[in-house]
């Protein structure tokens, strides 16, 4: 049961877990990529991204791709570690309950 208590509540929310998972498998992606892969609307995604940015899990990088400004989103080192910890604790919690 201790593993359940250790679950990161910021990541545990399903929409944010989707965002974290899809950002974890790439280096960075833009809003369209995340909208497509998570199925969230732009507004919904934006509010969850704000939350993840506040806790330091996600960073926003403005860059130019083919002379067009693109907002790229990426997991920070802290975010990657938090995601790995979350997976580990979830696995322990599931093992403990079986």
């Amino acid at each position: 049961m201790q593993a359940i208590d250790r679950l990161d509540r910021v990541i545990h929310e399903p929409a944010r877990l989707k965002i974290m998972t899809h950002l974890y498998v790439v280096k960075s992606g833009d809003f369209v990529y995340l909208m497509r892969t998570t199925g969230l609307t732009r507004g919904n995604l934006s509010s969850h991204m704000t939350k993840l940015e506040e806790v330091g899990y996600v960073e926003v990088i403005k860059e130019f791709v083919d002379r067009k400004p693109v907002t790229m989103l990426s997991l920070t080192d802290q975010g990657r570690k938090a995601f790995l910890d979350y997976r580990k604790n979830m696995a322990l919690a599931l093992e403990g309950s079986s």
């Binding site: 833009d30 809003f31 990529y33 732009r42 083919d66």
Partner: protein, 198 residues
């Protein structure tokens, strides 16, 4: 809970989703089609323009794929793989070009005349080169359907050699079939992935 292999598979699926648009198929198929038509009509300009679709590949990706799929930068492992693939493709292209130049100039005083040899077996050589290009894309970029295109183009050249017919029509047909497959993929892609609304 997602295991490490699930995450790797998710990354692979994300990567492959950028090839669902059929643009590479259309570009590759048009090149073969124009090359084949160049032989049918004995037109040097068609041979020259046969490379044009490859130049259009990136602008089409920018206009069609990225607005629908979004921009993604892959992790260092995938980036290394893509860079290695690009280098290998460049080396394969350079080697093919060198082979062509050697065949064109010929080796004087060589044990056997390479030019004569290449003229004799030109359908098989061209077929092998084109099939290798498709197979290389299939292996390096993990797009398995390109193995089918490799077999199709090699089959077209092989049939010309075996039945002693002009290679132009079968090669153009093979190119046309690849282009049609590409367009079918593109239409399916456009239906499946509309541009997201604001």
């Amino acid at each position: 809970m997602m295991s490490e292999s699930d995450l790797r598979e998710a990354e692979r699926k994300t990567y492959l989703s950028y090839f669902e648009d059929g643009i590479a198929d259309i570009a590759g198929g048009l090149t073969i089609l124009l090359f084949g038509l160049g032989m049918v009509f004995e037109s040097s300009s068609l041979f020259i323009f046969s490379w044009l679709p490859i130049i259009l590949f990136w602008p089409l990706k920018q206009a069609i794929t990225y607005p629908r799929m979004g921009y993604v930068k892959f992790g260092p492992e995938r980036q290394r793989r893509i860079s290695r693939s690009m280098i290998l493709m460049f080396l394969a292209g350079t080697l093919s070009l060198l082979l062509g130049i050697v065949a064109f100039l010929g080796f004087e005083g060589a044990v056997f005349d390479l030019r004569d040899f290449m003229m004799e077996y030109s359908p098989l050589l061209f077929g092998t080169l084109m099939a290798m290009a498709f197979a290389l894309i299939a292996v390096l970029f993990e797009v398995r359907r390109f193995f089918g295109y490799a077999a199709l183009t090699f089959g077209a050249w092989l049939s010309a050699y075996l039945f002693d017919i002009e290679p132009g029509p079968p090669v153009a047909l093979a190119g046309g079939a690849i282009v049609l497959t590409g367009f079918a993929l593109l239409i399916s892609f456009l239906i499946k992935h509309p541009i997201p609304s604001e």
